[in-house]
Protein backbone atom coordinates (compact mmCIF):
# COMPACT_ATOMS: atom_id res chain seq x y z
CA UNK A 1 0.00 0.00 0.00
CA UNK A 2 1.52 3.38 -1.00
CA UNK A 3 1.02 6.70 0.79
CA UNK A 4 -1.81 7.79 -1.51
CA UNK A 5 -3.67 4.50 -0.95
CA UNK A 6 -3.19 4.76 2.81
CA UNK A 7 -4.54 8.32 2.58
CA UNK A 8 -7.61 7.15 0.69
CA UNK A 9 -8.31 4.30 3.13
CA UNK A 10 -7.86 6.63 6.10
CA UNK A 11 -10.29 9.17 4.67
CA UNK A 12 -12.87 6.49 3.88
CA UNK A 13 -12.59 5.18 7.43
CA UNK A 14 -13.09 8.68 8.86
CA UNK A 15 -16.08 9.38 6.61
CA UNK A 16 -17.71 6.05 7.42
CA UNK A 17 -17.40 6.75 11.13
CA UNK A 18 -18.75 10.27 10.63
CA UNK A 19 -21.82 8.87 8.87
CA UNK A 20 -22.41 6.22 11.55
CA UNK A 21 -22.14 8.79 14.31
CA UNK A 22 -20.11 8.89 17.47
CA UNK A 23 -22.36 6.50 19.43
CA UNK A 24 -21.93 3.65 16.96
CA UNK A 25 -18.26 4.23 16.20
CA UNK A 26 -16.90 2.01 19.00
CA UNK A 27 -18.89 -0.94 17.68
CA UNK A 28 -17.79 -0.16 14.13
CA UNK A 29 -14.12 -0.09 15.13
CA UNK A 30 -14.54 -3.32 17.13
CA UNK A 31 -16.04 -5.02 14.09
CA UNK A 32 -13.30 -3.64 11.89
CA UNK A 33 -10.68 -5.02 14.33
CA UNK A 34 -12.30 -8.47 14.22
CA UNK A 35 -12.36 -8.49 10.44
CA UNK A 36 -8.72 -7.37 10.31
CA UNK A 37 -7.78 -10.13 12.77
CA UNK A 38 -9.55 -12.64 10.55
CA UNK A 39 -7.72 -11.37 7.46
CA UNK A 40 -4.35 -11.46 9.22
CA UNK A 41 -5.00 -15.05 10.29
CA UNK A 42 -2.03 -14.95 12.67
CA UNK A 43 -2.55 -15.16 16.41
CA UNK A 44 0.93 -13.91 17.31
CA UNK A 45 0.62 -10.83 15.10
CA UNK A 46 -2.87 -10.14 16.46
CA UNK A 47 -1.71 -10.38 20.06
CA UNK A 48 1.27 -8.12 19.37
CA UNK A 49 -0.98 -5.52 17.70
CA UNK A 50 -3.36 -5.59 20.69
CA UNK A 51 -0.42 -4.73 22.93
CA UNK A 52 0.91 -2.06 20.61
CA UNK A 53 -2.49 -0.43 20.14
CA UNK A 54 -3.07 -0.22 23.89
CA UNK A 55 0.47 0.92 24.64
CA UNK A 56 0.51 4.51 25.91
CA UNK A 57 -3.25 5.05 26.00
CA UNK A 58 -3.50 4.82 29.77
CA UNK A 59 -0.88 7.46 30.45
Amino acid sequence: MNDAQLDAVYTRLCKTMTQLGEAKTSLFLARFALLAIGEMDDANVSLRLIDEASDGIAS
Partner: protein
Protein backbone atom coordinates in the same frame (compact mmCIF):
# COMPACT_ATOMS: atom_id res chain seq x y z
CA UNK B 1 -0.94 40.48 29.75
CA UNK B 2 -0.67 43.53 27.52
CA UNK B 3 2.08 44.09 24.98
CA UNK B 4 2.30 47.06 22.63
CA UNK B 5 1.94 46.23 18.94
CA UNK B 6 4.79 46.95 16.54
CA UNK B 7 4.38 47.68 12.83
CA UNK B 8 5.69 45.30 10.20
CA UNK B 9 9.35 46.10 9.47
CA UNK B 10 8.40 47.38 6.03
CA UNK B 11 7.32 50.76 4.73
CA UNK B 12 5.23 50.70 1.59
CA UNK B 13 5.49 53.53 -0.91
CA UNK B 14 2.15 55.26 -1.49
CA UNK B 15 0.90 55.98 -4.98
CA UNK B 16 -1.58 58.64 -6.08
CA UNK B 17 -4.65 58.07 -8.19
CA UNK B 18 -4.46 59.20 -11.77
CA UNK B 19 -7.14 59.77 -14.39
CA UNK B 20 -6.13 59.28 -18.03
CA UNK B 21 -7.15 61.46 -20.98
CA UNK B 22 -10.95 61.22 -21.35
CA UNK B 23 -13.53 62.01 -23.93
CA UNK B 24 -17.04 62.34 -22.51
CA UNK B 25 -16.02 60.38 -19.43
CA UNK B 26 -14.49 57.49 -21.39
CA UNK B 27 -10.76 56.90 -21.60
CA UNK B 28 -9.61 57.89 -25.06
CA UNK B 29 -7.39 54.86 -25.47
CA UNK B 30 -8.96 51.41 -25.75
CA UNK B 31 -6.85 48.71 -24.12
CA UNK B 32 -6.13 45.16 -25.24
CA UNK B 33 -5.92 43.77 -21.70
CA UNK B 34 -7.08 45.17 -18.38
CA UNK B 35 -6.08 43.37 -15.20
CA UNK B 36 -8.27 43.99 -12.16
CA UNK B 37 -6.36 43.51 -8.91
CA UNK B 38 -2.70 44.35 -8.32
CA UNK B 39 -1.76 41.53 -5.95
CA UNK B 40 0.84 38.88 -6.77
CA UNK B 41 -1.39 37.32 -9.43
CA UNK B 42 -2.27 40.55 -11.25
CA UNK B 43 1.34 41.75 -11.21
CA UNK B 44 2.52 38.36 -12.49
CA UNK B 45 -0.02 38.47 -15.35
CA UNK B 46 1.13 41.99 -16.31
CA UNK B 47 4.80 40.94 -16.27
CA UNK B 48 4.02 37.79 -18.24
CA UNK B 49 2.21 39.81 -20.92
CA UNK B 50 5.08 42.30 -21.00
CA UNK B 51 7.47 39.41 -21.71
CA UNK B 52 5.54 38.98 -24.95
CA UNK B 53 5.45 42.70 -25.67
CA UNK B 54 1.75 43.01 -24.81
CA UNK B 55 0.60 46.14 -22.99
CA UNK B 56 -1.80 46.00 -20.05
CA UNK B 57 -3.55 48.30 -17.62
CA UNK B 58 -3.54 47.16 -14.00
CA UNK B 59 -6.39 48.42 -11.80
CA UNK B 60 -5.59 48.41 -8.07
CA UNK B 61 -8.00 49.61 -5.39
CA UNK B 62 -5.32 50.41 -2.76
CA UNK B 63 -2.59 53.04 -2.80
CA UNK B 64 0.32 50.63 -2.11
CA UNK B 65 1.34 46.99 -1.92
CA UNK B 66 -0.60 44.94 0.62
CA UNK B 67 -0.51 45.09 4.39
CA UNK B 68 -1.10 42.43 7.03
CA UNK B 69 -0.57 38.70 7.35
CA UNK B 70 -1.09 36.91 4.06
CA UNK B 71 0.87 34.47 1.89
CA UNK B 72 4.37 33.70 3.16
CA UNK B 73 5.57 30.51 1.39
CA UNK B 74 6.70 30.61 -2.27
CA UNK B 75 7.40 27.29 -3.94
CA UNK B 76 10.21 26.28 -6.29
CA UNK B 77 7.77 26.20 -9.21
CA UNK B 78 6.65 29.76 -8.39
CA UNK B 79 10.30 30.86 -8.20
CA UNK B 80 10.92 29.40 -11.67
CA UNK B 81 8.01 31.47 -12.97
CA UNK B 82 9.15 34.57 -11.09
CA UNK B 83 12.61 34.20 -12.63
CA UNK B 84 11.07 34.31 -16.09
CA UNK B 85 9.20 37.46 -14.99
CA UNK B 86 12.50 39.13 -14.11
CA UNK B 87 11.86 39.40 -10.37
CA UNK B 88 13.76 36.48 -8.84
CA UNK B 89 16.64 38.48 -7.33
CA UNK B 90 14.67 40.01 -4.48
CA UNK B 91 12.95 36.73 -3.64
CA UNK B 92 16.26 34.93 -3.18
CA UNK B 93 17.98 37.85 -1.45
CA UNK B 94 15.23 38.45 1.10
CA UNK B 95 13.39 35.12 1.28
CA UNK B 96 14.39 32.44 3.77
CA UNK B 97 14.93 29.12 1.98
CA UNK B 98 13.80 25.93 3.67
CA UNK B 99 13.51 22.27 2.84
CA UNK B 100 11.42 20.54 5.48
CA UNK B 101 9.67 20.53 8.79
CA UNK B 102 8.93 18.76 12.01
CA UNK B 103 5.69 17.72 13.67
CA UNK B 104 5.34 17.08 17.38
CA UNK B 105 2.66 15.27 19.36
CA UNK B 106 2.75 16.60 22.90
CA UNK B 107 6.51 16.54 23.63
CA UNK B 108 7.58 13.95 21.08
CA UNK B 109 8.74 14.50 17.49
CA UNK B 110 6.56 12.25 15.32
CA UNK B 111 7.49 13.39 11.78
CA UNK B 112 10.48 14.97 10.10
CA UNK B 113 9.58 15.59 6.47
CA UNK B 114 11.66 16.99 3.65
CA UNK B 115 10.61 18.41 0.31
CA UNK B 116 12.41 17.24 -2.85
CA UNK B 117 15.89 18.74 -2.79
CA UNK B 118 19.13 17.44 -4.27
CA UNK B 119 22.28 18.63 -6.03
CA UNK B 120 20.44 18.88 -9.36
CA UNK B 121 18.27 21.78 -8.21
CA UNK B 122 18.83 25.41 -9.03
CA UNK B 123 16.23 26.80 -6.64
CA UNK B 124 15.20 25.90 -3.08
CA UNK B 125 11.93 23.93 -2.68
CA UNK B 126 10.42 26.83 -0.71
CA UNK B 127 11.25 30.33 0.48
CA UNK B 128 9.43 32.29 3.15
CA UNK B 129 8.82 35.99 2.74
CA UNK B 130 5.92 38.29 3.49
CA UNK B 131 3.33 39.07 0.85
CA UNK B 132 4.32 42.75 0.93
CA UNK B 133 7.80 41.60 -0.14
CA UNK B 134 6.29 39.35 -2.83
CA UNK B 135 4.25 42.23 -4.23
CA UNK B 136 7.08 44.76 -3.88
CA UNK B 137 9.56 42.68 -5.88
CA UNK B 138 6.98 42.05 -8.60
CA UNK B 139 6.06 45.77 -8.56
CA UNK B 140 9.75 46.73 -8.87
CA UNK B 141 9.96 44.54 -11.97
CA UNK B 142 6.69 45.99 -13.33
CA UNK B 143 7.89 49.56 -12.85
CA UNK B 144 10.88 48.73 -15.04
CA UNK B 145 8.39 47.82 -17.76
CA UNK B 146 6.39 51.05 -17.44
CA UNK B 147 6.27 51.21 -21.25
CA UNK B 148 4.06 48.11 -21.20
CA UNK B 149 2.45 48.09 -17.72
CA UNK B 150 0.20 51.01 -16.78
CA UNK B 151 -0.72 50.78 -13.08
CA UNK B 152 -3.79 52.73 -11.90
CA UNK B 153 -3.63 52.99 -8.11
CA UNK B 154 -6.61 53.89 -5.89
CA UNK B 155 -8.95 52.84 -8.67
CA UNK B 156 -12.00 50.68 -8.01
CA UNK B 157 -14.32 48.87 -10.37
CA UNK B 158 -17.91 50.01 -9.90
CA UNK B 159 -19.40 47.83 -12.61
CA UNK B 160 -18.58 45.83 -15.69
CA UNK B 161 -20.40 45.42 -18.98
CA UNK B 162 -18.97 42.19 -20.39
CA UNK B 163 -19.66 41.46 -24.05
CA UNK B 164 -18.52 39.03 -26.74
CA UNK B 165 -16.14 41.62 -28.19
CA UNK B 166 -14.73 43.04 -24.96
CA UNK B 167 -15.84 44.86 -21.84
CA UNK B 168 -16.47 48.30 -20.44
CA UNK B 169 -15.37 48.95 -16.88
CA UNK B 170 -16.84 51.81 -14.84
CA UNK B 171 -14.05 52.98 -12.55
CA UNK B 172 -13.97 55.30 -9.58
CA UNK B 173 -10.96 57.13 -8.12
CA UNK B 174 -10.49 59.99 -5.63
CA UNK B 175 -9.59 62.12 -8.67
CA UNK B 176 -12.82 61.35 -10.50
CA UNK B 177 -14.67 58.54 -12.23
CA UNK B 178 -14.31 57.27 -15.79
CA UNK B 179 -15.08 54.37 -18.09
CA UNK B 180 -12.48 52.17 -19.76
CA UNK B 181 -12.89 50.03 -22.87
CA UNK B 182 -10.88 46.82 -23.07
CA UNK B 183 -10.59 43.77 -25.29
CA UNK B 184 -9.95 41.37 -22.42
CA UNK B 185 -10.25 41.42 -18.63
CA UNK B 186 -8.19 39.37 -16.20
CA UNK B 187 -10.01 39.28 -12.86
CA UNK B 188 -7.35 38.79 -10.21
CA UNK B 189 -9.18 40.81 -7.61
CA UNK B 190 -9.04 38.31 -4.78
CA UNK B 191 -11.35 36.13 -2.71
CA UNK B 192 -14.07 38.79 -2.59
CA UNK B 193 -13.76 39.51 -6.32
CA UNK B 194 -15.86 42.47 -7.46
CA UNK B 195 -15.82 41.19 -11.04
CA UNK B 196 -17.00 37.72 -10.00
CA UNK B 197 -19.85 39.23 -8.04
CA UNK B 198 -20.75 41.68 -10.82
CA UNK B 199 -21.04 38.77 -13.27
CA UNK B 200 -23.23 36.86 -10.79
CA UNK B 201 -20.81 33.95 -10.47
CA UNK B 202 -20.35 31.94 -7.30
CA UNK B 203 -17.58 29.79 -5.89
CA UNK B 204 -18.70 26.28 -5.05
CA UNK B 205 -17.30 23.66 -2.70
CA UNK B 206 -16.74 23.16 1.00
CA UNK B 207 -16.20 25.59 3.86
CA UNK B 208 -14.68 24.15 7.02
CA UNK B 209 -15.75 25.05 10.51
CA UNK B 210 -12.33 24.74 12.20
CA UNK B 211 -10.85 28.16 12.84
CA UNK B 212 -7.28 29.26 13.31
CA UNK B 213 -5.95 32.42 14.93
CA UNK B 214 -3.07 33.80 12.85
CA UNK B 215 -0.56 35.93 14.71
CA UNK B 216 2.53 37.61 13.29
CA UNK B 217 5.08 38.57 15.94
CA UNK B 218 8.53 40.10 16.00
CA UNK B 219 11.06 37.89 17.77
CA UNK B 220 14.81 37.61 17.53
CA UNK B 221 15.76 33.95 17.25
CA UNK B 222 18.48 31.90 15.61
CA UNK B 223 16.11 28.96 15.13
CA UNK B 224 16.43 27.59 11.56
CA UNK B 225 13.70 28.07 8.94
CA UNK B 226 11.42 25.04 8.83
CA UNK B 227 7.73 24.31 9.23
CA UNK B 228 6.92 23.42 12.84
CA UNK B 229 3.63 21.79 13.77
CA UNK B 230 2.66 21.08 17.38
CA UNK B 231 -0.32 18.81 18.02
CA UNK B 232 -1.80 18.92 21.52
CA UNK B 233 1.21 20.84 22.87
CA UNK B 234 1.63 21.36 26.60
CA UNK B 235 1.48 25.12 25.94
CA UNK B 236 -1.96 24.91 24.38
CA UNK B 237 -3.50 21.51 25.22
CA UNK B 238 -6.01 20.15 22.72
CA UNK B 239 -4.95 22.64 20.06
CA UNK B 240 -2.75 22.55 16.97
CA UNK B 241 -0.07 25.17 16.43
CA UNK B 242 1.96 25.98 13.31
CA UNK B 243 5.10 28.12 13.34
CA UNK B 244 6.89 29.62 10.32
CA UNK B 245 9.89 31.93 10.27
CA UNK B 246 9.79 34.97 7.98
CA UNK B 247 12.52 37.49 7.12
CA UNK B 248 13.35 40.44 9.42
CA UNK B 249 12.62 38.55 12.68
CA UNK B 250 8.93 38.15 11.88
CA UNK B 251 7.33 34.84 12.92
CA UNK B 252 3.96 33.48 11.82
CA UNK B 253 2.07 31.53 14.47
CA UNK B 254 -1.23 29.81 13.62
CA UNK B 255 -3.22 28.07 16.35
CA UNK B 256 -6.48 26.25 16.19
CA UNK B 257 -9.42 27.41 18.27
CA UNK B 258 -11.14 24.80 20.38
CA UNK B 259 -14.69 23.82 19.52
CA UNK B 260 -17.12 26.35 20.88
CA UNK B 261 -14.54 29.10 21.39
CA UNK B 262 -15.88 32.50 20.45
CA UNK B 263 -13.88 33.91 17.52
CA UNK B 264 -14.39 37.56 18.45
CA UNK B 265 -13.11 36.88 21.96
CA UNK B 266 -10.26 34.69 20.73
CA UNK B 267 -8.63 37.41 18.62
CA UNK B 268 -8.59 39.95 21.45
CA UNK B 269 -4.97 40.69 22.35
CA UNK B 270 -5.65 39.82 26.01
CA UNK B 271 -6.50 36.28 24.93
CA UNK B 272 -3.83 35.92 22.25
CA UNK B 273 -0.77 37.13 24.22
CA UNK B 274 -0.77 34.44 26.93
CA UNK B 275 -1.11 31.66 24.33
CA UNK B 276 1.81 33.01 22.31
CA UNK B 277 3.88 33.43 25.46
CA UNK B 278 3.26 29.87 26.62
CA UNK B 279 4.10 28.55 23.13
CA UNK B 280 7.39 30.47 23.10
CA UNK B 281 8.14 29.21 26.62
CA UNK B 282 7.56 25.63 25.47
CA UNK B 283 9.79 26.15 22.44
CA UNK B 284 12.53 27.57 24.67
CA UNK B 285 12.39 30.99 22.99
CA UNK B 286 13.39 33.47 25.70
CA UNK B 287 13.89 36.63 23.58
CA UNK B 288 11.67 39.68 23.86
CA UNK B 289 8.78 39.66 21.42
CA UNK B 290 6.04 41.98 20.19
CA UNK B 291 2.76 41.30 18.45
CA UNK B 292 2.39 42.77 14.94
CA UNK B 293 -0.89 41.47 13.54
CA UNK B 294 -3.76 39.22 14.62
CA UNK B 295 -6.43 37.77 12.38
CA UNK B 296 -8.68 34.70 12.13
CA UNK B 297 -8.77 32.06 9.41
CA UNK B 298 -11.30 29.48 8.30
CA UNK B 299 -10.39 26.97 5.59
CA UNK B 300 -12.31 27.05 2.31
CA UNK B 301 -12.11 24.64 -0.61
CA UNK B 302 -14.04 26.53 -3.28
CA UNK B 303 -13.79 27.13 -7.02
CA UNK B 304 -15.60 28.53 -10.02
CA UNK B 305 -16.67 25.87 -12.48
CA UNK B 306 -14.93 27.64 -15.40
CA UNK B 307 -12.26 30.35 -15.34
CA UNK B 308 -13.25 31.91 -18.65
CA UNK B 309 -16.47 33.86 -19.09
CA UNK B 310 -16.39 35.15 -22.66
CA UNK B 311 -13.78 37.93 -22.50
CA UNK B 312 -13.20 37.75 -18.74
CA UNK B 313 -10.57 35.38 -17.34
CA UNK B 314 -10.51 34.60 -13.61
CA UNK B 315 -7.23 33.93 -11.80
CA UNK B 316 -5.98 33.41 -8.25
CA UNK B 317 -8.37 33.74 -5.28
CA UNK B 318 -11.00 35.31 -7.56
CA UNK B 319 -11.22 31.89 -9.27
CA UNK B 320 -10.59 29.53 -6.36
CA UNK B 321 -9.98 29.46 -2.62
CA UNK B 322 -7.73 26.63 -1.43
CA UNK B 323 -6.93 25.91 2.22
CA UNK B 324 -3.71 27.45 3.60
CA UNK B 325 -2.44 24.04 4.74
CA UNK B 326 -0.01 22.95 2.02
CA UNK B 327 0.64 26.57 0.90
CA UNK B 328 -1.26 26.38 -2.37
CA UNK B 329 -2.98 29.80 -2.28
CA UNK B 330 -0.52 32.32 -3.73
CA UNK B 331 1.44 29.55 -5.46
CA UNK B 332 -1.57 28.34 -7.44
CA UNK B 333 -2.38 31.96 -8.32
CA UNK B 334 1.13 32.47 -9.71
CA UNK B 335 0.64 29.29 -11.75
CA UNK B 336 -2.64 30.71 -13.08
CA UNK B 337 -0.85 33.91 -14.08
CA UNK B 338 1.89 31.98 -15.85
CA UNK B 339 -0.68 29.96 -17.77
CA UNK B 340 -2.94 32.83 -18.83
CA UNK B 341 -0.23 35.37 -19.71
CA UNK B 342 1.28 33.64 -22.74
CA UNK B 343 -2.08 32.45 -24.03
CA UNK B 344 -3.65 35.89 -23.80
CA UNK B 345 -0.54 37.43 -25.39
CA UNK B 346 -0.73 35.02 -28.31
CA UNK B 347 -4.45 35.74 -28.83
CA UNK B 348 -3.99 39.53 -28.60
CA UNK B 349 -1.12 39.35 -31.10
CA UNK B 350 -3.22 37.29 -33.50
CA UNK B 351 -0.96 34.25 -33.19
CA UNK B 352 -3.63 31.99 -31.73
CA UNK B 353 -7.35 31.45 -31.88
CA UNK B 354 -9.22 32.53 -28.77
CA UNK B 355 -10.10 28.88 -28.08
CA UNK B 356 -6.55 28.70 -26.68
CA UNK B 357 -8.01 30.56 -23.70
CA UNK B 358 -10.47 27.73 -23.06
CA UNK B 359 -7.41 25.55 -22.39
CA UNK B 360 -6.46 28.01 -19.64
CA UNK B 361 -9.71 27.12 -17.92
CA UNK B 362 -9.38 23.38 -18.65
CA UNK B 363 -5.84 23.20 -17.30
CA UNK B 364 -6.22 25.44 -14.29
CA UNK B 365 -9.61 24.06 -13.18
CA UNK B 366 -7.99 20.60 -13.24
CA UNK B 367 -5.06 22.02 -11.27
CA UNK B 368 -7.47 23.47 -8.70
CA UNK B 369 -9.16 20.09 -8.29
CA UNK B 370 -5.75 18.52 -7.62
CA UNK B 371 -4.82 21.34 -5.23
CA UNK B 372 -8.14 20.97 -3.45
CA UNK B 373 -7.78 17.21 -3.09
CA UNK B 374 -4.44 17.64 -1.30
CA UNK B 375 -5.57 20.77 0.51
CA UNK B 376 -8.69 19.00 1.73
CA UNK B 377 -6.65 16.10 3.12
CA UNK B 378 -4.34 18.53 4.90
CA UNK B 379 -7.28 20.48 6.27
CA UNK B 380 -9.04 17.32 7.49
CA UNK B 381 -5.91 16.61 9.50
CA UNK B 382 -5.16 20.16 10.66
CA UNK B 383 -8.78 21.14 11.41
CA UNK B 384 -10.68 17.82 11.82
CA UNK B 385 -14.22 18.36 10.47
CA UNK B 386 -15.85 15.68 12.65
CA UNK B 387 -15.31 13.61 15.80
CA UNK B 388 -14.13 10.77 13.52
CA UNK B 389 -11.32 12.76 11.88
CA UNK B 390 -10.37 14.00 15.33
CA UNK B 391 -10.33 10.50 16.84
CA UNK B 392 -8.33 9.05 13.95
CA UNK B 393 -5.86 11.92 14.12
CA UNK B 394 -5.24 11.20 17.79
CA UNK B 395 -4.69 7.55 16.86
CA UNK B 396 -2.17 8.47 14.16
CA UNK B 397 -0.28 10.95 16.33
CA UNK B 398 -0.09 8.63 19.33
CA UNK B 399 1.20 5.74 17.20
CA UNK B 400 3.57 7.73 14.97
CA UNK B 401 6.57 7.86 17.31
CA UNK B 402 6.87 4.07 17.33
CA UNK B 403 5.17 3.20 14.03
CA UNK B 404 6.75 4.92 11.01
CA UNK B 405 4.16 3.37 8.67
CA UNK B 406 1.49 5.88 9.78
CA UNK B 407 3.70 8.98 9.57
CA UNK B 408 2.83 9.84 5.97
CA UNK B 409 -0.67 10.69 7.22
CA UNK B 410 0.84 13.63 9.19
CA UNK B 411 2.76 14.98 6.18
CA UNK B 412 1.42 18.42 5.25
CA UNK B 413 1.46 17.57 1.52
CA UNK B 414 3.22 20.76 0.48
CA UNK B 415 2.48 22.19 -2.94
CA UNK B 416 4.39 20.76 -5.89
CA UNK B 417 4.36 21.44 -9.64
CA UNK B 418 1.17 20.28 -11.36
CA UNK B 419 1.11 18.19 -14.53
CA UNK B 420 -1.57 19.10 -17.08
CA UNK B 421 -2.08 15.44 -17.85
CA UNK B 422 -5.42 15.93 -19.62
CA UNK B 423 -4.58 19.17 -21.42
CA UNK B 424 -6.09 19.51 -24.88
CA UNK B 425 -2.75 21.02 -26.00
CA UNK B 426 -0.67 17.92 -25.20
CA UNK B 427 0.70 15.83 -28.05
CA UNK B 428 0.09 12.23 -27.05
CA UNK B 429 3.38 10.27 -27.05
CA UNK B 430 3.81 8.50 -30.38
CA UNK B 431 7.03 6.91 -29.15
CA UNK B 432 7.64 5.01 -25.91
CA UNK B 433 9.66 6.83 -23.25
CA UNK B 434 10.86 4.98 -20.15
CA UNK B 435 11.27 8.23 -18.20
CA UNK B 436 11.34 12.01 -18.54
CA UNK B 437 8.57 14.61 -18.11
CA UNK B 438 5.36 13.55 -19.86
CA UNK B 439 3.38 15.98 -22.04
CA UNK B 440 1.79 18.51 -19.67
CA UNK B 441 4.54 18.19 -17.02
CA UNK B 442 7.20 20.76 -16.15
CA UNK B 443 10.90 20.06 -16.59
CA UNK B 444 12.75 17.99 -14.03
CA UNK B 445 15.76 20.10 -13.11
CA UNK B 446 19.39 19.16 -13.83
CA UNK B 447 22.59 21.13 -14.20
CA UNK B 448 23.99 21.82 -17.68
CA UNK B 449 26.94 23.70 -19.10
CA UNK B 450 25.97 26.25 -21.72
CA UNK B 451 28.79 26.41 -24.26
CA UNK B 452 29.16 29.44 -26.48
CA UNK B 453 32.17 30.17 -28.70
CA UNK B 454 34.29 27.70 -26.77
CA UNK B 455 33.37 29.15 -23.36
CA UNK B 456 31.23 27.20 -20.92
CA UNK B 457 29.10 28.53 -18.08
CA UNK B 458 27.30 26.56 -15.41
CA UNK B 459 23.54 26.69 -15.71
CA UNK B 460 20.42 24.56 -15.33
CA UNK B 461 18.00 22.97 -17.72
CA UNK B 462 15.22 25.46 -16.85
CA UNK B 463 17.57 28.27 -17.95
CA UNK B 464 17.18 27.02 -21.51
CA UNK B 465 13.43 27.74 -21.50
CA UNK B 466 12.18 31.27 -22.06
CA UNK B 467 8.92 33.05 -22.78
CA UNK B 468 8.75 31.20 -26.10
CA UNK B 469 8.16 27.74 -27.45
CA UNK B 470 11.46 25.95 -26.90
CA UNK B 471 12.68 22.78 -28.59
CA UNK B 472 15.29 20.88 -26.60
CA UNK B 473 17.06 18.94 -29.36
CA UNK B 474 19.20 16.05 -28.14
CA UNK B 475 22.14 15.67 -30.50
CA UNK B 476 25.44 13.88 -30.87
CA UNK B 477 27.54 16.80 -32.10
CA UNK B 478 25.97 19.79 -30.31
CA UNK B 479 24.84 21.20 -33.66
CA UNK B 480 21.26 22.12 -34.38
CA UNK B 481 20.16 20.04 -37.37
CA UNK B 482 19.78 22.31 -40.40
CA UNK B 483 16.09 21.44 -40.80
CA UNK B 484 15.40 22.68 -37.25
CA UNK B 485 17.28 25.89 -37.86
CA UNK B 486 15.07 26.41 -40.91
CA UNK B 487 11.95 25.70 -38.86
CA UNK B 488 13.05 28.17 -36.17
CA UNK B 489 13.59 30.83 -38.79
CA UNK B 490 10.21 30.16 -40.42
CA UNK B 491 8.31 30.29 -37.13
CA UNK B 492 10.03 33.46 -35.99
CA UNK B 493 9.36 35.14 -39.32
CA UNK B 494 5.64 34.55 -38.60
CA UNK B 495 6.14 36.43 -35.31
CA UNK B 496 5.99 33.28 -33.23
CA UNK B 497 8.48 33.22 -30.38
CA UNK B 498 10.44 30.00 -30.80
CA UNK B 499 13.93 28.79 -30.11
CA UNK B 500 15.70 25.49 -30.58
CA UNK B 501 18.60 24.52 -28.31
CA UNK B 502 20.90 21.59 -29.08
CA UNK B 503 21.95 19.41 -26.15
CA UNK B 504 24.86 17.05 -26.30
CA UNK B 505 26.31 14.42 -24.03
CA UNK B 506 29.78 15.66 -25.00
CA UNK B 507 31.55 18.99 -24.99
CA UNK B 508 32.16 20.40 -28.46
CA UNK B 509 34.38 23.43 -27.85
CA UNK B 510 34.79 24.21 -31.54
CA UNK B 511 31.10 24.08 -32.43
CA UNK B 512 29.65 27.26 -33.86
CA UNK B 513 26.68 28.70 -31.99
CA UNK B 514 25.39 27.66 -28.59
CA UNK B 515 24.87 24.21 -27.20
CA UNK B 516 24.05 22.79 -23.81
CA UNK B 517 26.44 20.13 -22.56
CA UNK B 518 24.87 17.51 -20.31
CA UNK B 519 28.10 17.28 -18.31
CA UNK B 520 26.63 14.95 -15.67
CA UNK B 521 24.99 12.66 -18.25
CA UNK B 522 21.84 12.72 -16.12
CA UNK B 523 19.64 14.60 -18.58
CA UNK B 524 20.09 12.10 -21.40
CA UNK B 525 19.48 9.29 -18.92
CA UNK B 526 16.51 10.73 -16.97
CA UNK B 527 14.81 12.08 -20.10
CA UNK B 528 15.33 8.72 -21.84
CA UNK B 529 16.91 10.73 -24.67
CA UNK B 530 19.28 9.83 -27.48
CA UNK B 531 20.42 11.83 -30.49
CA UNK B 532 17.26 12.73 -32.44
CA UNK B 533 15.03 13.05 -29.36
CA UNK B 534 13.23 16.39 -29.03
CA UNK B 535 11.18 17.81 -26.14
CA UNK B 536 9.11 20.89 -27.02
CA UNK B 537 8.20 23.26 -24.20
CA UNK B 538 5.37 25.77 -24.12
CA UNK B 539 6.14 29.37 -23.12
CA UNK B 540 5.14 28.45 -19.53
CA UNK B 541 7.71 25.64 -19.43
CA UNK B 542 5.24 22.73 -19.57
CA UNK B 543 6.09 19.98 -22.05
CA UNK B 544 3.93 20.23 -25.20
CA UNK B 545 5.20 17.02 -26.77
CA UNK B 546 8.25 14.80 -27.22
CA UNK B 547 9.51 12.61 -30.01
CA UNK B 548 12.21 9.99 -30.39
CA UNK B 549 13.14 10.97 -33.89
CA UNK B 550 11.45 14.30 -34.39
CA UNK B 551 10.93 15.86 -37.77
CA UNK B 552 10.46 19.64 -38.00
CA UNK B 553 6.97 18.99 -39.34
CA UNK B 554 6.01 17.24 -36.06
CA UNK B 555 6.93 20.34 -34.09
CA UNK B 556 5.34 22.77 -36.51
CA UNK B 557 2.11 20.74 -36.42
CA UNK B 558 2.12 20.46 -32.61
CA UNK B 559 2.49 24.21 -32.16
CA UNK B 560 -0.10 24.99 -34.85
CA UNK B 561 -2.53 22.55 -33.24
CA UNK B 562 -1.97 24.09 -29.79
CA UNK B 563 -2.59 27.60 -31.04
CA UNK B 564 -5.85 26.69 -32.72
CA UNK B 565 -6.70 24.24 -29.98
CA UNK B 566 -10.29 23.23 -29.75
CA UNK B 567 -11.67 21.80 -26.53
CA UNK B 568 -14.83 20.24 -27.89
Amino acid sequence: MNKPFKPYPFTAKKYAARVPALEQGVEVKRHDVTIVGGGPVGLAVALGLANHGVRSVLIEADDSVCHGSRAICISRRSLEIIERLGALGGFLKTGLPWTGGRSFYRDTEVLHFTMPQDENQKLPPMVNLAQYHIEQFLLDAAEKRADLIDIRWQTRVKSIDARDDGATLQLTTPEGDYALETGWVVASDGGRSTIREALGLQLEGTSYEGRYVIVDIELESERPTERLAYFDPSSNPGSTVLVHKQPDNVWRIDYQLRDGEDADEAVKPDNVMPRVQSLLDMMGETGAWSPIWITIYKANALTLERYRQRRVMFAGDAAHLVPIFGVRGANSGIDDADNIAWKLAFVVKGLASDTLLDSYSDERVAATHENLSYGTKSTEFMAPPSFAFDLMRTAVLSLAAKHPEVRSLINPRQTSAITYAASPLNVVDRDAFASGPVPGAVLAEYPVTIVEAGHGREAHLTDLAGPSFTALCFTDDGMLPAAFATLAHALRSRGLPFKAVPLSAHLHPRTQGVHAWDHTGRIFERYDARPGTVYVLRPDGHVLGRWRDAQPGDIDAAIARALCASTD
